[in-house]
């Protein structure tokens, strides 16, 4: 079956490992573009959140390129994400498309059979051993990708030549995608780090540091957040990214090897507790906890990204007003929908960074 995955940041690095190498024909959804957004917006229910719309755009573009099966994650609330795949399926069927939706989620009741079937479709007659090996390698690819993405956040504001950091990253991502074994990954890691070191101006110290929190998809998908990390980097700001695919998948798998990120999760919950004592789905509580932690870590401020009408993040936004006041810690909330314009966004971001710089000066003087 020709299979496709929706896009999310650089998650495409695993496409070969979990699809092509398993003997499937891979259809790559084109990178997110205005066309993706327009298609998604046109056919999605009007009041749905932005990530659903974009993912629907990916699906339409992928089916148009010949995809027969769409892989999607699921869930069971309380936020909308768990119902995405169903609504998308309905919409695509209404449009007259012929396809199969392969939903991967923790099963309930009859769901276990569907999950089993989907896993077997993915396995495609290969041995279990081989499949596990591929999944493990995909995990390693994700870990390395995120490690480099985090590193680039430090390099970018310090780079000697504008754009160098992003270029290095882009090249390495391509290599990770083609890699077939751990040794190659290790090699890529080493070389990239060297290149990063070379591109960095070591005299740039004491930069403004900002935590990036908020809804998972919008925070990790540059097209949707209007390249927020790059924008900040070029303003001389070091971004500390608080969401990661690693932390998102780890609790779902509940596997021993991910113990570390469990501990982190506990710490975040603990930090949020005083302000938001209960999980509200999505990243709601995580956003609050991460802002409290960012303050403790001595960062200058935090930016929260919110898809318009996102339920968990609106809870968090409400509460962050109070957190920010109590801790005297500046937070900026950026709300995204299909109409978000570049200019308004830039003005707000620049004003926020100016504010952080002024606060630094004040502290230095006193």
């Amino acid at each position: 079956m020709k299979l496709a995955l929706p896009r999310l940041g650089n998650i495409e690095v695993i496409n070969n490992t979990i699809l092509t190498d398993m003997g499937h024909e891979l259809v790559e959804a084109p990178p997110n573009s205005k066309r993706t957004m327009d298609l998604g917006v046109k056919y999605s229910p009007e009041y749905c959140c932005l990530p659903l719309k974009i993912a629907l755009g990916n699906m339409i573009e992928a089916i148009d390129l010949g995809a027969e099966g769409l892989i999607m994650a699921g869930g069971w609330g309380p936020c909308r994400f768990g119902y995405y795949a169903q609504v998308q399926r309905d919409v695509l069927l209404d449009l007259g498309y012929n396809f199969r939706m392969l939903i991967f989620e923790l099963p309930r009741k009859e769901g276990i059979r569907t999950l089993w079937k989907n896993i077997n479709i993915l396995r495609n007659g290969k041995s279990w051993l081989y499949m596990v090996k591929q999944l493990r390698f995909a995990w390693q690819q994700i870990l390395l990708t995120e490690e480099l993405e985090n590193k680039v956040l430090q390099v970018r504001p310090r780079e000697k030549k504008k754009g160098a950091a992003s270029r290095i990253l882009l090249k390495s991502i391509r290599e990770i995608k083609q890699a077939k074994d751990i040794n190659t990954l290790e090699q890529i890691r080493k070389e990239t780090m060297e290149k990063f070191a070379e591109a960095t101006n070591p005299h740039m110290q004491n930069l403004i540091r900002v935590a990036l929190v908020g809804e998972f998809y919008v925070s990790l998908e540059p097209f949707v957040n209007h390249h927020l990390e790059e924008k900040l980097g070029y303003l001389g700001v070091e971004v500390v990214r608080k969401n990661s695919i690693e932390a998102w998948i780890a609790p779902i798998m509940k596997l021993h090897i991910f113990k570390e990120s469990f501990k982190e999760e506990k710490d975040i919950e603990q930090a949020a507790y005083q302000y938001l004592a209960h999980s509200v789905g999505g990243e709601g509580q995580t956003s609050v906890g991460n802002v409290v932690l960012a303050h403790q870590e001595g960062l200058d401020g935090a930016i929260q990204v919110v898809p318009f009408t996102c339920m968990p993040e609106i809870v968090a936004e409400t509460i962050l007003k109070k957190v920010s006041e109590d801790l005297d810690f500046p937070t900026l909330t950026l709300t995204y929908d299909e109409q978000t314009g570049e200019e308004g966004l830039n003005t707000r971001i620049e004003a926020f960074i100016d504010l952080l710089k002024m606060r630094r000066k004040r502290v230095n003087v006193s």
């Binding site: 309905d90 209960h278 709601g284 809870v315 409400t318 007003k321 957190v323």
Partner: protein, 333 residues
């Protein structure tokens, strides 16, 4: 000893659970003060103190809390998480106590019991007992008050539900008179669906239900549909819905479609995440029932009465035109 005054905001989930709390707290000797039905002042208070991104029903909840704050010793704001397996309340209701205390200052002490039946601390009984302890030390009295109020609550709840067949015999099949003289006299059956804090708050929905009734409409709601029917209807879905409140709305919608009522009006809140998905499911279903007219009214703080009136009239017009045709009246245009 002075009676403890406990305030209950007349908003959100209290449209469902007020009778239970009122019964329980009163039995224990507390004085329960319910806020006024929503009015302009309450709405304005809420809008002023909440972020604009927050949905209208939560803003209204804020308004009710503020309107009570000077009159009571405590305000009851339960954290509603889960009342049945496999379903939740919406994120905003789960986070409601935290949202309220982040946004509103100088409030009386808030009582925020957690209702989460998956946990032993969160069962209805334990949760209410926790609150009861504030009022009296006598735990057997609390326990008795709980079981009595619970029983009454359940009985009243069931009393509202019409027997499914009765419902349609009495109100639907028999209500088309042989020869209505004027168009306006053709009775129609319209189901008004939505979260009950929208359908039952006549200030917010601009008195929609009464307006319909005055126009000779037999109004049907989700509350009168038996839970067993709802459960059965939900089986039509490809994937179960995991929001308790919306389950009722969708189940009732599917039922009314099947019963071929004349029209369905779905009331939704603009910023509501549940409604955005559920609206799509109902809309999708409506395409299978071309005989049933379907429309959605979206509410936010900017909704105007004139706009709603026009839409009601247009909707009824369309339905009556269809009916006139069906019962063989000559068209009047």
């Amino acid at each position: 000893m002075q009676k403890k005054k406990i305030g209950i905001p007349y908003a959100l989930y209290f449209y469902e659970y007020y009778p239970l709390w009122k019964e329980f707290l009163t039995r224990l000797g507390a004085e329960v003060i319910l806020s006024q039905p929503t009015n302009k002042k309450i709405l304005d208070l809420g809008i002023r103190s909440a972020l604009s991104e927050v949905c209208l029903p939560v803003k209204i909840f804020y308004g009710h809390v503020l309107s009570l704050s000077e009159q009571v010793d405590y305000i009851l704001i339960p954290r509603m998480v889960c009342i049945e397996r496999g379903a939740f309340f919406c994120p905003k209701m789960i986070g409601l106590p935290d949202m309220v205390r982040s946004s509103l200052q100088n409030l009386p002490t808030q009582l925020t019991p957690i209702i989460d039946v998956r946990q032993s601390y969160g069962t209805w009984k334990n949760s209410l007992m926790e609150v009861g302890k504030l009022i009296t030390d006598n735990s057997s009295e609390i326990s008795r008050a709980f079981s009595d109020s619970w029983k009454i609550f359940q009985q009243n709840y069931l009393a509202n539900i019409l027997e499914p067949n009765l419902l349609f015999k009495s109100s639907i099949q028999n209500n088309i008179p042989k020869k209505p003289r004027k168009d306006i006299e053709i009775p129609v059956n319209i189901a008004v669906l939505g979260h009950n804090y929208l359908t039952n708050d006549s200030y917010v929905n601009m008195d929609l239900i009464n307006k319909l009734k005055k126009m000779n409409v037999n109004v049907l709601t989700p509350e009168i549909v038996h839970p067993a029917i709802i459960k059965k209807q939900l089986k039509k879905l490809y994937k179960p819905i995991f929001w308790s409140l919306s389950r009722k709305v969708v189940g009732a919608a599917f039922y009314y479609f099947e019963k071929k009522v004349d029209g369905i009006i779905h009331l939704t809140s603009f910023e509501c995440g549940e409604d955005s998905m559920v609206g799509e499911l109902i809309h999708h279903q409506s395409q299978k029932y071309p005989d049933v007219s379907y429309t959605e009214f979206v509410f936010d703080e900017h909704s105007g009465e004139a706009g709603i009136n026009t839409r009601i009239e247009a909707f009824l017009d369309m339905i009556r035109r269809k009916k006139r045709y069906e019962i063989g009246l000559t068209p009047s245009w």
